[in-house]
């Protein structure tokens, strides 16, 4: 069997992360902040898709980094990205469970002009409008499905984690992860049944 340490040693990003964690453990705050700088965009992107409310998403990411700082001594090696993502996902799911009875405006950034999909090479106004409409519709539907399904879809389709990693992060079985993803996609399709033309072709 392949030694995981050997494979880690081959990955420069992970080797850098482990060095930073070692320095942070010894009290080097700059090293920890380097880790934050490396992963805050990715973590915020992940959490903001799971937690539709922007302010809550910020709080969740901040709390995840606080938890990571407190738990530096308990880090047992492996992928720092997965470790941070696990904390963020757990915090996000806790927030969703806590706030599930309080409806919020889903994805307010979609109403914000400062947040628009990047323009393509053609910068076709029709294409840009369609892409924005598609993103808005999909975001709205994502905010409607269950938090478990949403988190699984985001982790798999957007963040690129495999089933086993998602199962470890969310603490459920592999079959449950697959089921959540497939049922979530079916739910998305049902929610977008009237607007599927946006996505076809």
């Amino acid at each position: 069997m392949e030694d995981p340490r050997a494979s880690l040693a081959l990955d420069p990003a992970q080797r850098r992360d482990l060095l930073l964690v070692d320095r942070a453990r010894s009290g080097d705050l700059d090293a920890f902040n380097d880790i934050v700088a490396c992963y805050q965009d990715q973590l915020f992107g992940l959490v903001a898709r799971i937690v539709p409310d922007r302010d809550q998403a910020y709080d969740v990411v901040q709390e995840a980094f606080f938890s990571a700082y407190r738990a530096l001594g308990g880090f047992r090696g492996g992928s720092v990205r997965s470790w941070l993502s696990r904390m963020a996902v757990n915090a996000a799911m806790d927030t969703q469970r806590l706030r599930k009875r309080r409806p919020v405006q889903p994805y307010p950034e979609l109403e914000d002009d400062s947040w628009q999909p990047p323009a393509g090479e053609e910068a076709d106004p029709v294409g840009i409008t369609l892409a924005a409409e598609r993103t808005a519709a999909l975001g709205e539907a994502l905010a409607t499905i269950t938090p478990d399904q949403r988190a699984s879809i985001v982790l798999f389709d957007i963040e690129g984690y495999d089933y086993a990693e998602i199962a470890e992060m969310t603490g459920v079985s592999l079959g449950t992860v697959k089921s959540r993803i497939h049922r979530g996609r079916l739910a998305l399709r049902a929610l977008l049944a009237d607007r599927m033309e946006l996505f076809r072709g």
């Binding site: 805050q40 407190r70 993103t135 996609r185 399709r189 599927m196 996505f199």
Partner: protein, 271 residues
């Protein structure tokens, strides 16, 4: 589009089709999924839509972060210096922490304890039953001793009768007066007859207060009933009286703690 509920499509495994569309169907079920997609137009459309949605999800632009999450030295110091009590408190009020199950458990135990302490006959009856069993056990031995060595009390009774009969013949003596000493003289025979058993000496103290000397055969039973009666009267009266208020106080404290924890969690949630 036809209604899927009335067509055969309604009976198809849509989750399998969704998995197949993105290449996630298990090998042993992929053939079935492929057959569904090939033979059912709705399943084919579903597979196309699921794939399109997956691609659109992947193409969603990343939310733009406008806040920096790097820690300031003050924040880091605060996180480092958080006391164990503070961490424990946070774990109690944090969503998904220990607070919810702990508060529920405390309130349940508190309510149950208050109910038990408020119902007087429940612990009393339990205590009476337990003590009655214990008393019956201790009394069973002398009775069995009498049963096993029944000749001894019988012999004692006989000898007492003989003595009394003999006394009748004595001038100036009454049968009633003679029976008393005769029976008292016979009663020490009981421990002597059952002397082989270590519980034997228990019998005379029980038999002696019963007093009625006339009926020797009923002495052990009557004494036993009297003993049970005394135990029943005194046992439950002391046990709940000493444990009831304590149980009620502990239950009340648990109930209050659970409620306080619940309120603290709700406040933290609102904050």
């Amino acid at each position: 589009m036809a209604d899927g509920r009335t067509s055969p499509h309604g009976t198809h495994d849509l989750e399998l089709v969704a998995a197949f569309a993105t290449g996630d169907a298990a090998p042993d079920r992929a053939a079935r999924a492929a057959q569904l997609v090939a033979s059912c137009a709705h399943c084919r459309q579903l597979a196309d839509d699921v794939l399109a949605l997956r691609l659109a999800t992947r193409a969603m632009p990343a939310p733009v972060r406008t806040r920096d999450f790097r820690l300031s030295p003050e924040t880091a110091a605060r996180l480092r210096l958080a006391s164990p009590w503070e961490r424990f408190r946070r774990s109690l009020v944090a969503p998904g922490g220990l607070g919810r199950p702990l508060s529920a458990s405390l309130m349940t135990l508190g309510l149950a304890g208050l109910l038990v302490s408020a119902v007087p006959f429940l612990p009393s009856s339990l205590g009476t039953l337990a003590q009655r069993d214990a008393t019956t056990d201790s009394l069973a031995a002398p009775e069995s001793n009498f049963a096993a060595g029944g000749a001894a009390p019988q012999a004692a009774s006989t000898s007492a009768s003989d003595t009394a009969a003999g006394a009748k013949n004595a001038p100036g003596a009454s049968a009633g007066a003679a029976a008393g000493p005769a029976a008292l003289a016979a009663s020490p025979v009981v421990p002597a007859a059952s002397g082989g058993n270590e519980r034997g000496p228990v019998a005379p103290p029980l038999a002696t207060p019963a007093g009625p000397v006339a009926d020797q055969g009923s002495v052990p039973g009557a004494a036993g009933d009297a003993a049970v009666g005394r135990t029943t009267a005194s046992g439950p009266a002391t046990s709940p009286a000493s444990g009831g208020p304590i149980l009620a106080a502990v239950s009340a404290v648990a109930l209050v703690l659970g409620a306080a924890l619940l309120v603290a969690r709700r406040r933290a949630g609102r904050a």
